[in-house]
């Protein structure tokens, strides 16, 4: 359902020149599976997921989501995914009901079907008591529920969650994670990024560890632990990070002339 092949993205910045935020990332995610993208802040998780949601264009490689290429058919991709991240807030001056209805209509749901979906989703997320509360008056937990409702109102086959639990208290965190597990059981294809090891262990069947813009390892958690000889995800993570840092240092020592920051601009 999601196929990512050799994906790359370079940005330009005055201080460092061309920076490769994502480099040669490949993975696959199938229906009924939660694929975890584990990495620290700035590792390239958000950039990768933004490319999958079509709001950024890749500078290398390709990605196919729900059967459509993200560069060639971005509208078709957006129609079939639900995307939630720290950057997708909710409107202050709209009530929960209005907001979910608005996005449902943008997804082109017919009125009767939208109404039915909304009743289902509001019931499922237990949002009925704040249907008519404005975004500005909601608690963080309420906002997060509205965001989830917005993400799934059109019943998309693919769901992308970019650190959906960051900044939440443990109660809300638990609700969010439970709901994502329920969505998996409904057969959705789910990509989930986080920097929390425990979340990965709880949710994901397969995981990729991303650091310095590149995937350091990927596979089912048990296999990864076994093949790297590490007792748990945390140890595995730090082992991979140290290895990547050592490699980068060796690289920059090897050729001092070739500035490591200048990874090469996008092909014209």
């Amino acid at each position: 359902m999601i196929q990512v092949e050799h994906l790359g993205k370079s940005f330009h910045d005055y201080q460092r020149g061309w920076v490769e935020a994502v480099r040669d990332v490949s993975f696959e995610c199938r229906p009924g599976e939660i694929f975890g993208l584990l990495g620290p802040n700035g590792a390239g998780k958000t950039t990768t997921l933004r490319i999958l949601s079509t709001i950024l264009r890749p500078t290398a490689g390709r990605a196919v989501v729900a059967g459509y290429d993200v560069v060639e058919h971005p509208e078709e991709v957006r129609r079939r995914i639900g995307f939630m991240s720290a950057g997708t807030g909710i409107y202050d001056r709209m009530t929960a009901w209005e907001l979910v209805e608005y996005f449902g209509r943008l997804y082109g749901l017919p009125k009767a079907r939208l109404r039915e979906r909304m009743e289902t989703v509001f019931g499922w997320l237990k949002m009925d008591d704040f249907r008519d509360v404005l975004g500005s008056k909601m608690s963080t937990g309420m906002k997060q529920k509205v965001s989830i409702a917005r993400t799934i109102v059109h019943d998309p086959p693919v769901l992308i969650f970019d650190e959906p639990t960051s900044g939440l208290d443990i109660l809300v965190q638990r609700v969010v994670l439970d709901k994502i597990l329920e969505l998996r059981d409904l057969g959705k294809t789910i990509v989930f990024s986080t920097h929390s090891m425990s979340e990965v262990q709880r949710l994901c069947s397969r995981v990729a560890i991303i650091y310095r813009g590149a995937l350091q390892a990927q596979g089912p958690i048990d296999e990864l632990l076994a093949s790297h000889g590490q007792p748990d995800v945390e140890e595995l993570f730090f082992a991979l990070v140290e290895r990547a840092d050592a490699l980068a240092r060796a690289d920059s020592d090897a050729d001092v002339d070739a500035s490591p920051a200048r990874a090469g601009g996008p092909t014209p």
Binding site: H12, R78, F83, S85, A86, G89, F103, L106
Partner: protein, 715 residues
Amino acid sequence: MNWSNILLIFRREGMDQLRDRRTLFMVVFFPILLYPLIGAGVLQFAAAIQERPRLVVIVGAEHLPKAPPLLDAEGKGLNPDLFDSAAEAARLEVALQPDDGPWGEPARREQAVRNGDASAVLVVPADLPEQFRAKGDVAIPIHYKSVDETSQVTYLRLREALDRWKRGIVEERRKQDNLPAGYAQPIEVKALDAATAQEVGGNVWGRIFPFLLVLMSLTGAFYPAVDLCAGEKERGTMETLLISPAGRAEIVMGKFLAVLVASVTTAVLNLISMGVTGLQLAQRASGFGGADPARQAAAALAPPTLQSALWMIVLLIPLAAFFSAICLALAAMARSMKEGQYYMTPLYLICLPLIFLTMAPGIELNPFYSIVPVTGVALLLRALIVGDYATAFRYFPLVLIPTLVYAWLALRWAVEQFQDEEALFRESERFSLGSWVRSLIRDRGPRPTSTQAVLAFAVIITASWLFAQATLATGSVGGLGSVAAGQSLILLVPLGMAFLLTTDPLGTLRLRRADARYFALAAAMAVTLNPVVAELSRLVQWVFPVSGATQEVLKSLMFGDLGLLPTILVLAVLPAICEETAFRGFILTGLQSGRRTRSAIVLSALLFGFLHVFLSLFQQLFNATLLGVFLGLLAIRSRSLWPGVLFHALNNGFAVGMAAWVAWLSRIGAANLVYLDPKEGVYQKPWVAAGAVASAMLFAYLWKHDRPGPDSGET
């Protein structure tokens, strides 16, 4: 484009704005409150002028004759018969001073008026009685201070009263001499003001309110635009919308419509509030009598007619669309509301002088002003308010169409901003000039960016302007030398920038060999386009005549007979090389990055047109832009600068060598076959038609059948 998405987004954004108190205040309440406040202020101000006492000091009143009386019975005021009403007479207080006292000194009297001790001082000369008896001429000096409003008004009243008094004296003398009535006053001048009440009123509105209306529609667009773009980024809802199935163009259109409605609403509410205030003032005015200043002020504020108002709304919509799109594009760049506000200052700084023109005396709507953004609309609004419908309707399409075009271009820019990842997801980074310059050189690519292309244009314009000022200052205007120097400036900028900022300067400037057929095509195009260009420039001069003064200046710049060869080298070949390197070399190449060929050609042609506006005449805009389109396509298809240079040199060469060519044609007796007017270079119509068809076909051939293969690197 999916219109149901656009409408959905529009409705949501509109509702969002209605729920926002700040926007609501700026868009709705501010205009409703503003005009009654202005109206009340005007009345208060007028009343204040009226309240101030006006003291008239009469020096030497003892010399006044008994009949006709200048003063009233008690000698404490002026004779009420000399005024429209007794109340008016009472407004002038009178103090009498003997002429042998200190007031006899002119210096003392002047001092009094200057210090404001008296509004006016009237001096009755000591020989008045004798002169009166001898029926001689008498001069009565009045001291006043014209820059002081009160003193000025007092002086005018006093003169009016003295005129009537003088008539009394003449009447007295006529009676004494038994002459018929009208003997001594054979001619009486009557002032007939041709202005209608609407015009008198409109004049005040006409100066102030186009200014306010335009400013209000800009303000009405700005706040919602910043809120709907920068505000959404700040609140973290922009990405939510971007990941919905709505396309970027649909999102921009939806937001644009919401901003447009806010802007038009602001402007219309201003119009209504202005009208209602005007009506009220006019009604209050009918309660006053005579030449009351408050009444005059109120009459001057009579509202525009309903017809004017309707036309104004028709006109405000495209203007509001232009502002909305520009604000949206600017706001899309801003990361936060605060940053959005920063962009407001330059926007206002550019718009204000354009609107201020309506306040300047002597600026009338003409074809040139009508196509200047904002100014055209403001001047047309003024004509409508004043009730000058003849002018207004003549220029209506000439203002409306360019404004619509500007609005469309601005909207395209806004869509481009929304498709630009850098504009949408810009993160703040610390700016340092050094590292920016270093990064420009370190990270240069094979081709320049759009921004660098526009920067090159700005540098060319600035350098050329400075150079022109310098030659003016040193008095070395004209001459082939200064033209050559000016042209080499145009060449230096793209050369320097291409070598500094790109890794492939030769490719950037298209300094490659071209296929021979492109040279043939270029020559054919130059020849077939020539009659069209000549006809177009005749049409342009007919619509936008070159003023006499400008023609004089141009004539003075004409070159003496320097021989054909040097003239052709400097006026045809050199500009061809220099301008092509700049516009089809660096600038077009830069504009091509990330843009369709079509847009790049049109944009570069427009910049080429503007260069000619800056360097010579506004009238050249049209021709230069047309040529720029042909040259742009030629450069892109041939992938070389040289066919364009040939085209450009031929085109300029025709103009330079025209006299020689016509002389030759005349010798073989063919001048009249080609030209309708050989002197002015006006072609016979069939030649123009044939040229237009042929050049269009050549253009179409290049455009359609000569697309390069995918491997050539052109997109």
